[in-house]
């Protein structure tokens, strides 16, 4: 198993296939847009996992092509040394809590080009009528620190360099919590929750049957412990939440289970069609020169 996920992994798979090098059985891709392109080129097996529509939500699959075993849940992370838990919970009931003048210069943002998670979050602001592009302009006026990825943002939040960091992944925040990180998180009224990484099988997989079995296994109850080991929420329906972090978080005063009603699933067609236009606009709003 190679660990190259993301854009480079998908592009590497594509380059191999175009050269007739059939190396990968399963491509675990975090690039759904790239996957569609490669599917059109005929590099992916069109397959349907048995009973998959009963097992997982439609938002966790690209029918006939890719299936995601875990949710990526977006949260607002904060440093409780700067913002007490009760205050954070009340203030960040909506994203507008970030516009508090007291937070000027104390907010960290993962920049829009920093990956799918930040882009999905900013796309949500653009597409939700209660926020819109105007909200991003107001957020920019708060002089946020911009981070090229979420990892350095989390580091600075834990160090107290900033008071709030968005968008953060709940599963990663939980991993940090298990290591002793004191930062906490809360759920606003609406937040992107989407399937960020998909299993897709190569049309020319050297081991096609094993690839099917491997992919299918991730949608059985037996796979849940392995997904939960990374503190991620499985997409498989009807399984109890047995994450170690959740058990520990239940003992805290500030944590609450993820409220499903806040889920906002990005429209991937909108994403594909408008990325080239929206990305520079988001960065311009946030202060980059074109």
């Amino acid at each position: 198993m190679d660990r190259k996920v993301g854009v480079l992994g998908t592009q590497q798979f594509a380059t191999e296939e175009r050269a007739g090098q059939h190396v990968m059985d399963v491509n675990y891709s975090a690039d759904p847009a790239g996957m569609r392109d490669l599917a059109e080129e005929g590099f992916y097996l069109r397959y349907t996992l048995p009973d998959i529509t009963q097992k997982i939500d439609r938002g966790a699959m690209i029918p006939g092509l890719g299936y995601s075993p875990k949710w990526t849940d977006i949260v607002i992370s904060y440093n409780p040394d700067h913002i007490p838990h009760a205050q954070a919970k009340a203030q960040f009931k909506t994203w507008r809590g970030l516009l508090d003048p007291k937070l000027k210069g104390k907010i960290g943002l993962n920049e829009p080009a920093g990956g799918g998670v930040p882009f999905a979050t900013f796309l949500m602001f653009y597409r939700r009528p209660e926020y819109g592009r105007k909200f991003l302009e107001q957020l920019a006026a708060q002089a946020p620190r911009m981070y090229p990825g979420s990892a350095p943002g989390r580091e600075d939040l834990a160090a107290g360099a900033i008071s709030v960091f968005i968008p953060n992944w709940e599963s990663v925040a939980m991993i940090q919590f298990m290591k002793g990180d004191k930062t906490a998180w809360t759920y606003p009224d609406v937040a992107p929750a989407f399937a960020n990484t998909y299993f897709a099988i190569s049309k020319n997989a050297p081991h096609p049957n094993a690839a099917r079995l491997f992919s299918a296994w991730f949608f059985t109850p037996e796979s849940v412990p392995s997904i939960e080991a990374g503190q991620a929420r499985p997409t498989l329906k009807g399984v109890a939440d047995n994450r170690a972090a959740v058990a520990k978080l239940k003992q805290t005063s500030w944590w609450q289970p993820y409220p499903d009603k806040i889920r906002w699933v990005p429209d991937m067609e909108d994403w594909d069609a408008n990325y080239e236009k929206l990305m520079p606009d988001m960065r311009t709003v946030l202060g980059w020169k074109r």
């Binding site: 480079l8 998908t10 594509a14 050269a19 059109e40 620190r145 360099a161 290591k179 080239e276 520079p280």
Partner: protein, 575 residues
């Protein structure tokens, strides 16, 4: 007389042409295979090989047109140049000064400093960024917290997230390049001119300004060219520190195009050509500056002892300056990395109770740590040796041959470091994916030799410029053939410079990430790839622990090499 002897010294015409032809063919094949793939990719609508890919100028139009019509390359290119120029000037000035202090003075502790100043070359620039963030974050950095506590000031003392902060981190990152590229040349320099000036009553500063540094112009220019080129293609430091002030460089903008989806590899390849042109301009100026290599001759037929300048009481002042540079630029940020390695998670303020070896334990428990270490050492030894050997052959032909063909080779060799490593990696992937080399250690070896051969050639080239041709002429008069002259005259004199070139390449390979992240396979993982994986996962503590471990291992190898080679360095003069 001199002319007729010179004709005999040069290899016979046919042999020389054969040598030149072979070397040129090898260089052309090495360099143009991946770069050709990139150029081809830059004029395709989709990645090469895609059934939907068609010919287009649109990528290049966006890149070059964008420079003038406010496109995505305009401010990024200007930022890159405004960053690379001061970094080049400052790093070169400090590196040259340190190299002089270590090799040409009686400053105490100079042997220790010679190792100490190379430490930043042993870890990834991202690790340096971690160290500086821990120290100089305007809100939570240790230095600023202490400053605010002690002075009662509300404003930070230093802000690493600023243009000055980025320049600061990059200068200390590149000083070792200027240092190592000049140490060998200083060593090979006959002190007779300096001594004559001293006897004539010239002060130390006057000797430095009018004799020492002008003679060193060749190697200083080579260092400047390297640093300018590398600063242009460096994406990690400005990418991490520059986001806070919305400071995009061209290399970072290219990195984003390869790493965010939907990706734009043809666009990234097109922008890579712009960086190639910028670095070619730098190379043009370097070649103009050094076209009369006779000006830099310091090793002549007359015997000399490699002496040092006695500084009297000033040597302690110089020692203090070197200690300060080492502490500020290397030891303190490295200490911050070590501190981060001992913290499982970052905490507000310094929590000494939280210190543990958990991150180191995680590193040792990792399954692929030994595989990564073994692969890194194999690659380091192999690539450094090949680049040093090819560097000797190529630099000899470039400096002594002075043919148009070898000038072309000189430009070709420099091209691969002119583009960001990630883009170069994509070019290698496109070029070699269909070969049996793909996903093996061999493709990494090939990639690194292609990319880092220039270090061997440029370092050896400056060494070659310093050797007076009359030595070769004397050997010829004494009956030695070209090969014998080369083996028994040039090679021994070049030994310290070969050692410098070998070390430089070895250290760079031991920390290479950007191209290998594209090309590695399950069995060809390297230590820097493991560090990178931890950084991407957000495990900064584990990445810091691995970086410290790598620093110790590579440092020991470098020490062993120097201990072994040090004997030869002492005997390189010909008194």
């Amino acid at each position: 007389m001199s002319t007729s002897v010179h004709t005999q010294v040069m290899p016979a015409g046919a042999v020389a042409r054969l040598w030149t032809g072979l070397l040129l063919a090898a260089v052309t094949l090495l360099v143009l295979t991946p770069l050709g793939a990139l150029l081809y990719g830059s004029v395709r609508t989709h990645a090469p090989g895609s059934r939907r890919a068609t010919f287009t100028w649109s990528n290049l139009e966006a890149v070059y047109g964008g420079l003038f019509n406010g496109g995505w390359t305009q401010s990024a290119t200007l930022n890159s140049i405004f960053l690379a120029l001061p970094v080049m000037l400052l790093a070169c000035a400090i590196g040259l000064f340190l190299a002089w202090a270590v090799t040409r003075t009686d400053m105490p502790g100079r042997r220790t400093f010679e190792i100490a100043f190379l430490l930043p070359m042993l870890y990834s620039p991202l690790v340096g960024v971690i160290g500086w963030s821990v120290l100089a974050d305007p809100q939570a950095g240790i230095i600023n917290t202490l400053w605010k506590y002690l002075s009662g000031a509300g404003e930070p003392l230093i802000n690493i997230y600023s243009y000055v902060g980025i320049v600061w981190v990059m200068v200390f990152y590149f000083i070792p390049y200027a240092f190592i590229l000049n140490v060998g040349a200083f060593r090979a320099m006959d002190p007779a001119l300096e001594e004559a000036a001293a006897v004539s009553g010239a002060s130390l500063w006057r000797r430095l300004a009018h004799i020492t540094f002008p003679i060193m112009l060749g190697s200083a220019a080579a260092a400047a060219l390297f640093i300018f080129t590398l600063a242009l293609e460096q994406f990690a430091i400005p990418g991490f520190l520059g986001s806070h002030i919305r400071f995009d460089t061209l290399a970072y903008a290219i990195y984003l195009r390869t790493n965010t989806y939907p990706s734009d590899l043809p666009g990234a390849a097109g922008a890579g050509t712009l960086l190639l042109i910028l670095s070619a301009i730098g190379l043009y100026w370097y070649r103009r500056l050094t076209r009369r290599s006779e000006r830099f001759v310091t090793v002549t037929g007359r015997g000399y002892k490699p002496g040092v300048t006695a500084l009297g009481g000033m040597r302690f002042v110089l020692f203090g300056g070197c200690v300060l540079i080492f502490l500020v630029g290397i030891a303190i940020p490295l200490g911050a990395v070590a501190l981060r390695a001992l913290l499982p998670v970052r905490t507000t303020g310094l929590d000494f109770a939280a210190l543990s070896l958990a991150n180191f334990a995680q590193v040792f428990a990792a399954e692929d740590i030994l595989l990564g270490l073994r692969n890194s050492i194999y690659l380091g030894l192999g690539v450094a040796t090949i680049c040093a050997a090819l560097g000797v052959a190529l630099s000899f032909r470039i400096v002594r041959g002075k043919s148009r063909a070898m000038s072309l080779a000189d430009y070709l060799i420099a091209m691969p470091i002119g583009i960001p490593g990630t883009v170069f990696g994509v070019g290698m992937l496109w070029a070699y994916v269909g070969t049996p080399l793909y996903l093996t250690l061999w493709i990494l070896l090939l990639a690194f030799v292609t990319r880092y051969l220039v270090y061997g050639v440029r370092t050896l080239g400056t060494g070659m410029m310093q050797i007076d041709k009359t030595l070769e002429e004397a050997a010829t008069v004494a009956g030695a053939g070209p090969l014998r002259t080369f083996l028994f005259v040039n090679l021994p004199l070049l030994r310290p410079v070969i050692a410098s070139a070998w070390l430089l390449v070895f250290m760079i390979v031991m920390r290479e990430i950007s191209a290998s992240v594209i090309l590695y396979g399950v069995k060809s993982v390297t230590l820097p790839i493991l560090t990178w994986s931890y950084l991407v996962d957000g495990s900064y503590g584990v990445a810091s622990a691995l970086a410290i471990l790598q620093l110790v291992i590579v440092g020991l190898i470098v020490l062993l090499f120097r201990w072994w080679f040090g004997v030869s360095v002492k005997t390189r003069s010909h008194d």
